[in-house]
Symmetry: C2
Subunit: 261 residues, 2 copies
């Protein structure tokens, strides 16, 4: 980060970029049963199309928690992407929560029913499965080529499945309609020096290049240690200049001591 | 989840259990450069010692964001575990943010300096590395057997490193002092039937066993699909009863149609 006390928009020179939050909904993540991989996937995806992911949250399958998180996030960011809780069982309450957050009724959507019937015989379309066709009034459907049951998009909130393969397909489907921007480009310097030996110089370079975010990530394992220095910016020239300064900095530092930092 | 419209404490019969949130601090997670594994690790760990993880958040290396998240979470949960941002570089601002959240100064802690000097020659203890010994006034140190630079514990907030191996050691160090509880026990039924065929029955079982959380997780990949049904409770008898009811339910359901749900 280029400076600690300035607003983060100006820090990165990205004030026109669309922003986003991810809201993962599911007890299974918070119990540790399932390792979330959706945050990381969406993070990479949005970075690639020039949308800044600013925050992620994981909440349980509890209606009030979902509503509170959706309301907090949709007020702050251009887009909110939710994953999870749109299946047919009693613990799938995302659609209910989103409808309440927006103050609209849930309605059975004819095209959602039609989508379900691509996989289901009419006699198998029981009340539980019909739940998956309940969409908040005014929402657009998000097609699901994998397993048919759709997600939806209401206001600035995009509701997707929790199963990664389904979520990936849904994200592909909505991406063409998102306000994308200039992607952030990054360069990484894998330095063998210690973080503590380049920290002061890195801080100076970061201060001098307000639109380049500089992160420092130490690594160490048996016998070897060093620092990955990652520079990120939408400004290719500034990135190049800062990169060269970091390369120069790293070249002047000796690998000292037994410390990993 | 046992019911949609009741308070989540009473849903699970867990009103005496300690609760927790995880706050992951780091641009690298939100850019997609690094896949977070700390949330899942802490989730499993806390579940194992009877503490309920209720929420997780990921925020950027931006001071105001860290302060806002810490304040929101520490007001709601028994414990808040943070990871990341306690190294020597300009983007490591967690200690500053936590001190501001608690309204106390940061002070160089003599035992933290002593810990750093186990790895460092005195001449290598430069201002950047000394930053790692700055601890909010009144905080206790959390020892770091891996790379020496300590975490700390202030109020109900436990500040740990972002590097998984270091975080694991810090969590082991604080675990003995946490208010632990009766662990939630879980049983899983891997059903070959579709989620939509057991959804109604599962909902009934969930309603009848308010202290058993029942989650349903469909799986499907080429040619095969089904549902993992996970029951979780602190009440072994209730868990056993609900488990038997789910086994019976699943046995009565035929595997129908081409739908994955």
């Amino acid at each position: 980060m280029a400076g600690e006390h300035t607003d983060d928009e100006s820090q990165r020179g990205e004030s026109n970029a669309a922003t986003a939050a991810v809201l993962v909904i599911g007890d299974e993540i918070l119990s540790g049963r399932t390792q979330d991989r959706n945050i990381g996937y969406i993070a990479q995806y949005l970075t690639g199309i020039g949308i800044d992911l600013r925050e992620a949250r994981v909440v349980a399958d509890v209606e009030d928690e979902i509503i509170a998180a959706v309301d907090a996030l949709r007020a702050r960011y251009t887009y909110v992407f939710t994953t999870g809780g749109i299946g047919p069982t009693h613990d799938d309450i995302t659609a209910d929560a989103i409808a309440k957050a927006f103050g609209v009724p849930l309605e059975e959507h004819p095209r959602a029913i039609a989508a379900l019937l691509k996989y289901l015989r009419p006699e198998d379309l029981n009340p539980a499965r019909r739940r998956m066709a309940r969409i908040p009034q005014g929402a657009k459907l998000v097609n699901n080529p994998v397993s048919k049951a759709p997600g939806f998009w209401i206001g600035n909130v995009i509701v997707m499945a929790g199963i990664p393969s389904v979520m990936h397909a849904m994200l592909d489907n909505v991406a063409t309609e998102l306000r994308t921007g200039v992607p952030v480009v990054s360069r990484t310097i894998k330095a063998t020096c210690k973080e503590g030996d380049v920290a002061e110089g890195l801080g100076t370079i970061a201060r001098n290049h307000a639109n380049v975010a500089i992160g420092s990530y130490p690594y160490f394992s048996e016998g070897t240690s060093g620092t990955n220095i990652v520079l990120r910016s939408r400004d290719a020239d500034a990135l190049e200049t800062a990169y060269n300064e970091v390369v120069q900095l790293v070249a002047t530092v000796r690998h000292t001591g037994a410390s990993p930092f």
